[in-house]
Symmetry: C2
Subunit: 353 residues, 2 copies
C-alpha cells in the first residue's frame, strides 16, 4: 500500500477482482463499466477505506467542482452574508468555494485570479476591487472560466454575468421618504466624495462602485423633487465609523445644517448615529437619519434606525445560481440581474420641526 498505509487503486482493483483500468473508471465515474464491476469496486473501496484522488479525477474530467469567490473582506457582514447565500446554493450542487480576500486592492485581485485559474476552478464570483480595471476578469472568461460580478460592475468585461442591487432606485426611495416628510436640506454621508467631480462630468466608468451610484442617485432624486443640490451637504468619509463621525459632525456644524442625513452604508450610519447622539440632538425631531443595510443594532438603538434594506443573502444566492447555470453551459449572452432594496421606516425619521 502507498501513502502512509492508505490503500491504492491497485489494492482496490485486486480486492474487487477487476483490472486497474476498470477500477479507475468505476471510481472516477467516467468511461464504460458494467454495473456489476461498478458495485464490486465500490464495495472493495469501502472495505479498504480507499480515498478517491480528486486531483486525478479532475485531470481527467476537466472539472474541479470548485468555485472561486473574491471579495474585499469576508469579515464585512455584507460580504459574509452574500457568501453564505453563495455557498447555500453551490454546496448542495457539489461545489466547494475557494475564498480570497483582496482587501479591495486590484493587484491582490489580479494575483488571486491567477491562483484561481491555476487551481482550475470551474468559475469565479468576484466583487471587483476597482470597476475601471476589468482586463484580468475578461482574460479569465477568454480562457474558459465563467465570471459572475457581485454587487458591482466592471468595465471591459462585457461577457461577465452580474448580480447587483438597483442602487439608484434604493436611494431614490430614501430621498423620496425624506422629501415626503417635508425635508429640503438633505445631507449625505458618502464614501464616493472623490467621485464628485467625475459625476459632475458624467464619467460613467468612475461611477460603477455602489457608493458612486448611490451618490449619483442622491443627486437625481433631489432633482426629481425639484430641490437644487447643495454640495456643501455632501459629507465625504472613508469606510470607517470615525471618519463618518467626523463627516457628520462637519455637516451639523454648518451655519445652515441639514435637517436630515442619508448614510450610504451601515458602517457610515453607525458613525453618524453616534455623532448625533454625542451632540445631544434629539432624533428625529432635530435630525432625521437613514442608514443602509438592516443590521441587528438598528432596532436596539433609540430611536430605531430607518434603513434601506438590501437583499444581501439573495444577492449571493442569485450569483451562485447564475454561475452554476453558466458552468452548465447556460445562455450565450451575459445576464445582468438587478435586485430591489426596500425602505424600512422606523423612528429615526420624521417631519422637521
Amino acid at each position: 500500500m502507498t501513502e502512509r498505509g492508505a490503500p491504492s487503486l491497485i489494492d482496490v482493483a485486486r480486492e474487487a477482482g477487476v483490472s486497474t483500468a476498470t477500477a479507475g473508471r468505476a471510481l472516477g465515474g467516467y468511461g464504460k463499466v458494467s454495473q456489476r464491476s461498478r458495485d464490486r469496486v465500490a464495495d472493495a473501496a469501502a472495505r479498504l477505506g480507499y480515498r478517491t484522488n480528486g486531483l486525478a479525477r479532475s485531470m481527467i474530467t476537466g472539472s474541479t467542482q470548485t468555485l472561486g469567490v473574491l471579495v474585499s473582506d469576508v469579515s464585512n457582514p455584507f460580504f459574509a452574508t452574500a457568501l453564505r447565500g453563495i455557498t447555500d446554493v453551490t454546496q448542495p450542487a457539489g461545489f466547494e468555494v475557494l475564498l480570497s480576500n483582496t482587501g479591495g486592492d486590484v493587484d491582490a485581485e489580479r494575483r488571486a485570479m491567477a491562483v484561481m485559474s491555476e487551481k482550475r476552478v470551474d468559475g469565479v464570483i468576484v466583487a471587483p476591487a476597482l470597476p475601471s480595471e476589468g482586463a484580468h476578469l475578461a482574460r479569465a472568461i477568454d480562457v474558459g472560466v465563467p465570471v459572475v460580478l457581485l454587487d458591482r460592475l466592471a468595465s471591459g468585461v462585457p461577457n461577465a454575468d452580474s448580480v447587483t442591487i438597483d442602487n439608484e432606485h434604493a436611494v431614490a426611495e430614501a430621498v423620496g421618504h425624506l422629501v415626503e416628510l417635508g425635508h429640503r436640506r438633505i445631507g449625505v454621508i458618502t464614501e464616493a466624495g472623490g467621485d464628485l467631480a467625475h459625476l459632475r462630468k458624467g464619467n460613467r466608468k468612475r461611477g460603477l462602485l455602489p457608493s458612486a451610484v448611490r451618490l449619483r442617485g442622491y443627486f437625481s432624486a433631489l432633482a426629481d423633487a425639484g430641490i437644487t443640490a447643495d454640495e456643501t451637504l455632501v459629507g465625504a468619509a472613508r469606510y470607517d465609523r470615525e471618519s463618518a463621525y467626523d463627516a457628520a459632525t462637519g455637516l451639523l456644524d454648518l451655519a445652515e445644517p441639514p435637517t436630515a442625513l442619508l448614510c450610504t452604508d451601515n458602517v457610515l450610519a453607525s458613525g453618524a448615529y453616534r455623532a448625533a447622539q454625542d451632540r445631544g440632538l434629539r432624533m428625529p425631531r432635530e435630525l432625521s437619519l437613514i442608514g443602509f443595510d438592516d443590521e441587528p443594532w438598528t432596532t436596539l438603538v433609540r430611536p430605531g434606525l430607518t434603513v434601506v434594506e438590501q437583499p444581501t443573502y439573495d444577492l449571493g444566492v442569485r450569483a451562485g445560481k447564475q454561475l452554476l447555470d453558466r458552468i452548465d453551459g447556460g445562455p450565450g449572452r451575459a445576464r445582468h440581474a438587478q435586485l430591489q432594496a426596500k425602505l424600512v421606516a422606523r423612528d429615526s425619521t420624521a417631519s422637521p420641526r
Copy 2:
C-alpha cells in the same frame, strides 16, 4: 494548441527549444534544471501566456497549497472575523482557503471532511459541530491531513492542535464584576440549558462546547463567591434573538427576579437587551446586563453594553499559524492554545438599587 486555444506544455517547450520534460520540471519547480533552461522556459511561457496547471503540479509535489476551513455559518460575525484572521496569515504564505458551512450538523461536517480529503487539502481548520463526535477528524489525521480545532475541542481527536478561548476564566471575570458591584441574584441566558443535567453529573464529554463551558464557569464563579446557585435563574434559549428575548422575559417575570443578567453570547445579549427595553426597565439601576463579543452596536445603545470581549480575529490568526507550522512538519505533539478574553465595563452594569 489545446483547451480553447490555450498554449500547452509542448508549445512552451518548442518555443524555449528544450525538451518537454525539462519544460515541465522548470514550470513545476521540481527536479534538476539549469538556470539557463529555467529562464528560457519562463520567458517562453510568458510570451505564449502559458497557464501553469496547478492540478498536474499538485499530483507531482503532493501539495495543493489549499486549506480547508469548516465552520457552522460564515455569516455569523464570530466565524466571519475568525476566518479573516485565518486568511490573513495563510494567503501570504501561498495557501488558499476552501470553505465549508456545516450548519452545525455533524453529518454535513463528515461529508465536508470527505470532500476536503478528496480534494487533497494540505490541512484543515474546523470548529467541530458536535464535540462528542471526533472520529472523522481523527481519521483525517491518520491519513496525514493535519487538523486544528477552532473555538472548541472534540473528544477522540488527541492528535489535533486546538485554539480556543479560556471560556471558564472569561465568565469568571464577568461574574466577578457583578459580585463586586454587590449582585447576589445573577441570572444567565445560555444555549447550554440542555447540558445542565450533564454538568451536574460532571460529564466532561458533553461539556466541550463554549456555551457549556461558560455555563460551567458561571456555576464555579458563583461557588467561588460563596453564592448558592439557583437553577431557576438559568434561562435556556436557542441560538436566536427571539428565544433569548423569551428566556430573559421568563427570568424577569420571577417573583424574585435577578438583579443582573449574564448573556453568554452576542446574539443572546441583543435579545435580552431588547426584552429589558420593552419592559421599560432602567438599566443599570433596575437591571445590570453583560454580553459576550464586542460588536459595534454595544456602544450605540444607551446604556452602552458591558461585554466580555473575545479575541476573535486573533483566534483565527493563531489557528492559521498552527496549521502552517503543522504542514511544515512542526512539533510532534498536539498543541493547545488558550487565548484570554477581557471584560469591557460600560454603563449597563452598576450596583443593584
